[in-house]
Amino acid sequence: MNKKTIEQTMKWVLLGTAFVSLLILVGIIYFIFDNGFLAFMENGLWNFLFGQKWSLADNTFGALPLIIGSIYVTVGSILVAAPVSIAIAVFMTNIAPHFLREIVRPCIDLLVGIPSVVYGLIGMVFLVPLIREHLGPPGYSLLAAITVLILMTIPTIVSVSEDTLRAVPTKYKEASLALGATKWQTIWHVILPAAKSGIISAVILGVGRAIGEAMAIYMVIGNSFSIPKSLIDPSRTLTSNIVGQIEEAALGSTHIHALFGCGIILLLFVFVFNSISFTLSKKGVQA
């Protein structure tokens, strides 16, 4: 084969491989919506989104408690995880001596990489009995799920916001210190505002991880289909609902369509968060 033919062929082959990611995204959207819309049709959109009955026997599926469950665990965990993670990231980048960073950084990497089922297991053997004994049965609860999610999202948010904070130009810091500001004033008034958009992206990444987490939540939340009235009530989320039923649901049944319907709601949540993050990261570049 002559060189020109090889050159042209390779160019098209490479374009083809690059196109695969686009195909996968389109495929995911198509298959999730194709099956999920059937759930909207079969149950009625209103009944699917705001119904409170999930019954195989009656073939009725309403996802309201799942949506509320997902929102509760996500908001609950981020309210704690975001400020704590930012505090740790600030400590790591601006205050901690070098040797401490060298120890903590690999720890964070390890914690980011630990499989979610291991976090779920830790929750099952450690948190659930603790909640059962001190706050009341059944232990498998919204609180257990929120706590596990806090543990899981902290390493992610710390890791990303640490990178952002490190990327703030040193001259900003030096200028502020030279003007007589203390180190803390510099952090609060100069470094944090400069890293703002990156930190918000990091938090949104954490939100994405929290709302999309399935296995760990399934293992500790108790999976009762009801809107929880307190933190120690068991609950169920969009994700844990899919985990619990995907193996038994028959292909083509109303049941599996309802699970794909949950998938649509989940995807919409994620797309909203992603676009916020995308817009913010564009702003960050301009600043």
């Binding site: 060189k3 050159e7 390779m10 160019k11 082959v13 490479l14 083809g16 491989t17 196109f19 990611s21 686009l22 996968i24 995204l25 495929g27 995911i28 298959f31 999730i32 099956n35 704590v84 505090a87 740790i88 600030v90 400590f91 205050i95 901690a96 903590v104 690999p106 390890l110 914690l111 990489g113 630990i114 499989p115 089922v117 291991v118 779920g120 297991l121 099952m124 902290i154 500001a181 803390w184 004033q185 994405g208 709302i211 999309g212 399935a214 399934y218 293992m219 994700t239 899919i242 985990v243 995907i246 193996e247 292909l251 599996i256 794909f260 998938g263 989940l266 994620v270 968060f273 995308f278």
Partner: protein, 285 residues
């Protein structure tokens, strides 16, 4: 208005307190798991047949699934990265491809599980290693592309110009000059993908099949270590002699193995990225 020195001291104490308490708590929980799981690890458990409570099938299943996933994800990921870094013109299509990659990275893994059920399991007819591996390949593709593209971008422009100047074509330059120098970065990407297969369970739940037997073909069902942990932790004991407590301690044992694998992989990634940066520093580029 508080004295700046006082407020600084308060902030210092608060920040170090938060860091030590939280990091301490996280590490304590992991260590707790390791210490408790360590006792259940022995040869009979790790290499015993799974029908008798051993880990042979999940270990073989994990390795099988890793290889099958890499088979799809390495050519696709490296190809896409080469296109984006070396060939891609700045136009709408490139923009869409980049947007697709960043969107895929943010999609929850359980959605990939649903997608795998709707497409791969339906096409193949039943849950199998092949269906699981295709699902995992879709999930890990963006990680492979990003890692490889970073590595390709790190190769100095002057090397490409030297090769092109000597009369090599663009593809020859890419294949003989750029790719070999980017190899450590590509290996980092491969390790990242292996890490995903080891750690993710939600996409495999309904796509990999959960056969407790050692798989022999890509059309067999299999379970990974992480999936096996999940089944042990959530399912009621099936036989009379095995108690819930036994299952949980076995699950803790698997958790120890998984944590060790993650430690090993992180170490390798660190090693390769050091190798990589040192080589370019030495050559003074």
């Amino acid at each position: 208005m508080m004295n700046p020195k006082t407020s600084q001291s308060i902030a210092w104490v608060a920040l170090s307190f938060i860091t030590f308490v939280v990091m301490g708590a996280l590490l304590f929980l992991v260590l707790y798991c390791v210490v408790h799981g360590w006792n259940s690890l022995n040869m009979a458990f790790v290499f015993g047949p799974t029908t008798k409570g051993g880990l042979l099938a999940p270990i073989v299943g994990t390795i099988y699934l890793i290889f099958m996933t890499l088979l799809f994800v390495i050519p696709l990921g490296v190809g896409a990265a080469i296109y984006l870094s070396e060939y891609a013109p700045v136009n709408g299509i490139t923009h869409f491809i980049r947007y697709a990659l960043s969107s895929l990275a943010g999609i929850p893994s359980i959605i990939f599980g649903l997608f795998g059920v709707a497409l791969f399991v339906t096409l193949i007819g039943h849950a199998s290693i092949l269906a699981g591996a295709l699902t995992m390949a879709c999930l890990s593709l963006p990680f492979m592309v990003t890692a490889t593209e970073e590595a390709l971008k790190g190769v100095p422009k002057s090397w490409r110009e030297a090769s092109l100047g000597l009369g090599a074509t663009k593809w020859e330059t890419t294949w003989f000059v750029v790719l070999p120098s980017a190899l450590p970065g590509i290996i980092t990407g491969i390790i990242l993908c292996m890490g995903r297969v080891v750690a993710e369970t939600a996409p495999l739940l309904a796509t990999a099949g959960f056969s407790p037997f050692v798989p022999t073909s890509p059309f067999d069902g299999a379970r990974t270590l992480a999936l096996h942990l999940f089944y042990l932790a959530t399912e009621a004991p099936s036989t009379g002699t095995v108690t819930r407590y036994d299952l949980i301690s076995q699950a803790m044992g698997i958790a120890v193995i998984l944590i060790l694998i993650i430690v090993l992989m992180n170490g390798l990634i660190r090693l390769f990225s050091n190798l990589y940066s040192r080589r370019f520093l030495k050559q003074g580029v």
